[in-house]
Homo-oligomer: 178 residues x 2
DNA sequence: GTCTATATCGGGATAGAC
DNA sequence: GTCTATCCCGATATAGAC
């Protein structure tokens, strides 16, 4: 397994957080991955930390702010995991792996509109740039990204008849873009 | 534009509903498409129909039952729109069109786990079979479906830098599977 | 098939003391 | 940074009369 490269410092979403806020964010991520976004209420998060729910608002102005931070952390982690890029086939394999290892964070980071104003500038592009590096062409990159995203999300949601997509289907997809 | 074929009667999700329930379902679809799933509350739906919210429960046992019906109607309509199949390129074009014309129903029908017990038996497979007909091979069919789904959903969510995916990206994708 | 009245729940969030 | 007490809202859903 290729070792992931670290994200440039200016893209680190946690760089301006207090230490305590970082702990809250970590707990939120743990809870998110364990029970899903719908179960991640401010009360449940407070319980996980052993504090009272209103105390959370000393660290994050709103639940929405917390969500944006989680999304940013997801983009950072996924971007890191996808580089350095060696080939289309390896990128596809790695994308599936990292999404499968953090399914709820993946869902949160990729589902619905993205509040770009709440992200470190440049993070979104940096996160997706492995696709450009692997394909060497912007439209191919977008098409490949959309294709693997579709595979991952349908797989996570159990939309394939077999539950997860058969290896043959993943191979088909990788081959078409190699 | 190719004329869509009608769905076999046994797959029609509304075949067992009372006329009034059908009207409720129609209103729900209208409201869903206008304001999105999050805004489709039982109260809002009742308002749209000019009745009181509790009256809805005479027609549908729960909101979840109503949701399942909407999903089923979506699968039926999308399946109809995608046949007869002439080519991979035409299928891809048509898929984008029909999803774009019913974005909120598309989201509802494709997002998250599918409650298969609540659907007419066979409807799910029938809805997706145009992909098999177009590719002539099951794994290719799945990969193509995932790819176009990824494109559509990222486009609906405004996830591409340009808002919607450029034509060149759609062409890339269709070409890879033709 | 519709109504009114109401139960129940749980969410996000604020005020102000310590 | 944490607490307790509390507010406010809006959601699904039920009971029972008409």
């Amino acid at each position: 397994m290729t070792r992931a490269e670290e994200c440039p410092e200016e893209f680190d979403p946690t760089r301006l957080l207090t230490p305590r806020a970082r702990e809250v964010l970590e707990a939120a991520r743990t809870l998110l991955e364990r029970d899903g976004w719908a179960a991640l209420t401010m009360r449940a998060l407070a319980d996980e930390l052993g504090i009272a729910a209103p105390s959370l608002y000393k660290h994050f102005a709103s639940k929405d702010a917390l969500k944006s931070q989680l999304v940013a952390v997801g983009l950072k982690d996924f971007g890191e995991a996808l580089r350095p890029v060696t080939s289309v086939a390896a990128l596809v394999r790695r994308y599936r792996e990292v999404a499968g290892a953090n399914p709820e964070l993946y869902r949160l980071a990729t589902h619905g509109p993205l509040d770009r104003d709440a992200l470190p500038p440049g993070l979104e592009d940096w996160s997706g740039s492995p696709f450009f590096e692997a394909t060497g062409e912007p439209y191919r990159a977008q098409a490949l990204w959309a294709a693997v995203h579709g595979m991952v999300i349908l797989e996570l949601d159990g939309r394939f008849p077999t539950g997860s997509a058969p290896k043959a289907t993943w191979d088909e997809l990788a081959n078409h873009f190699s």
